[in-house]
Each structure stands twice: as C-alpha cells, then as structure tokens.
C-alpha cells in the first residue's frame, strides 16, 4: 500500500509496471489515470493544484486502509501530483491489484470517488480568459454516496 503526493511529474506506464511487478499472486490490476484535459472548444493552458500535503497523506492512507478492508486487495497505490501542470500531464493515478477483476475495478472506483471529495487538493484552471478555481461538483458527492 503506497501513497505518493508530489510536485514531480510521474510516468503512468513506468508506475504501472513497477506496481505489476510487486507480486505474482494477483491476476487482476485496475488503473485509473487522470490527465490534464484540453480541447479546442474549451482550451486550458495550465492547471494548478494547491495541496495541504500533511492532510493529504493522512487522508489517502486512511482511504487505502478502508479500501483494503472492504475489497479483496493484494496491493494498492495512489499517486497524486500538485503544483502547475499542463495539458496531457498526469494528475493522479490509482492502481489496485486483486485476484478478481471485479474487486480490482470496484476498489479503484471507490478510491477515485473518495479522492475527488476527501483529498485536500484544489484545482485552479488557467484559460485564455483568465484563471479560476474549479468548483466542487455535486456529481462527485453523489458518486461518493453510493458506497455508503
């Protein structure tokens, strides 16, 4: 079980390979990668994530412990970046390893749903029109509520 909160850019594929090499006991790995999105209709030039690292580590470690209790997991990793990122750069990666694909998928979704609302990161988007804080979405609260 690993949590990493970092300003350094990470390599999604290298992280996945490291994660997969941890054990031969599990047959199923689910990975979620969140990347900075930009499209011509709605261009973003930068995404800045503010973070409270001490609380983030506590929250993410607690979240991993909950997921491990709840699902049949052999390993799980959360990597979350903060600082200023650009389109195409990975923001977050969650990886889960289980004997069963359903447990791997569910645990990854569980981690992402809680991470969206319970991890102390705040996103600020820079567009050609200026800079604004991203508002918390009620859809994220609803996604979290389904696990209760």
């Amino acid at each position: 079980m690993t949590v990493r909160v970092t300003t350094e850019r990470f390599d999604p594929g290298a992280e996945l390979n490291t994660f997969l090499s941890a054990t031969d006991n599990a047959g199923a790995a689910a990975t979620f990668t969140g990347v900075v999105r930009s499209n011509p209709q709605d261009p973003i030039t930068a995404l800045t994530l503010e973070c409270y690292p001490e609380l983030a580590l506590n929250q993410l470690n607690d979240l991993l412990a909950q997921a491990t209790n709840r699902f049949d997991l052999l390993a799980a990793t959360i990597i979350h970046r903060y600082g200023t990122l650009h389109p195409g750069e990975p923001i977050v990666q969650v990886m889960t390893l289980s004997p069963h694909r359903q447990a791997a998928f569910e645990a990854a979704e569980f981690l992402m749903d809680f991470l969206k609302t319970d991890a102390p990161f705040w996103k600020q988007e820079t567009t050609p029109q200026g800079t604004h804080w991203v508002e918390a979405k009620s859809a994220d609260d609803e996604a979290k509520a389904r696990w209760e």
Partner: protein, 83 residues
C-alpha cells in the same frame, strides 16, 4: 494556535496562515470561525456561507462541531477538488 488557509479562502484573506490566540471559551471549529469572523470583516465575508468551509484540526479532517482543545494547527478551506 496556527490557522492555515487554502485555495480561494487563502486568496480572499490574502494570507496562507496566521497565529491566533482565541480565548478559552472558543472550543469548537464553529466557534473558532465565529470568533475569527468577529475580529476581521474580510474573514466574515469570505466564510459567510459556512457550508463552503471545511476544516482540519492537526491534519485530521473534522466537522465544524469538532473540538479545537489543545490543537496546534487548524486548517480552513473550500470543498476539495482533487483527483
């Protein structure tokens, strides 16, 4: 006691942290927010909608009814938008 501010709350207050010494009767997060609002109009305005203010005491996420007794750091911030 150190207070930390994040995101738009930090921007609106124009500071990321401050040292405060609330009186002994200020014992919960809610009471701390009231007390801070009483001494600073910018803070009062920024935290008017209390449901938009989340809190952590000594790096542990808590509700507004949580005790701040013996806390060395209280963080106040908007709803989180990670992931």
């Amino acid at each position: 006691m150190k207070i930390l501010y994040f995101a738009w709350l930090r921007e609106r207050l124009n500071r990321g942290e401050e040292e405060v010494s609330p009186p002994a009767e200020v014992s919960t997060v809610a009471e701390l927010i009231d007390w801070l609002a009483g001494r600073d109009e910018a803070f009062a305005l920024a935290t008017e909608k209390r449901s938009l203010i989340k809190a952590a005491v000594d790096a542990k996420l808590v509700g507004h009814d949580a005790s701040i007794h013996g806390a060395s750091t209280v963080a106040l911030f908007p709803p989180m938008t990670g992931g």
